[in-house]
Subunit: 93 residues, 2 copies
């Protein structure tokens, strides 16, 4: 079993209202020093069997055809040892 | 200028209808071998000045109070050299 992560973010030239909303809320909560916030999507895919180059290429095609809209979004595919849940558990949260 | 990423995922015990919808669509698009899909959020924060431990701790508090709902979501904070857009550009996309 392998875990492949696909990160999808709005292209830099695309307006990101969600990110702007977060950016605007930070000072009201007493946080400073953040100059920009971009919000996108993260997919954690569990893949059966061995992680070959072919499998990673298949995930790239999934990212291109289903998980992102290439007109307005960029994506990145990478392998991760630990899920966010495992990291949170290891930090006692 | 530094870039800190906050990944937010639904806790494992929480139903993830978006992830299930993606999982269900993959075979129809001819993809096989994916046993589970979880969908969450990714925030890219641009921080001015130097990235000290204090700053990373501030981002953790932002993640806990604004970017995630600790009842149903886990989060992870990490520093990344390149944004998704820079990786996509370096791959000629």
């Amino acid at each position: 079993m392998a875990r492949v992560v696909v990160d999808v973010m709005p292209k830099p030239e695309i307006l990101d209202p969600q990110g702007k909303a977060v950016l605007g809320a930070l000072p009201r909560l007493g946080f400073s020093g953040v100059t920009d916030v971009r919000q996108g999507k993260r997919f954690e895919l569990e893949i059966e069997g061995e992680l070959t180059d072919d499998v990673v290429e298949q995930v790239r095609q999934m990212a291109e055809t289903l998980l992102s809209n290439p007109v307005i979004e960029d994506f990145e595919v990478h392998v991760e040892e630990h899920s966010v849940a495992e990291v949170a558990a290891s930090e006692g949260r």
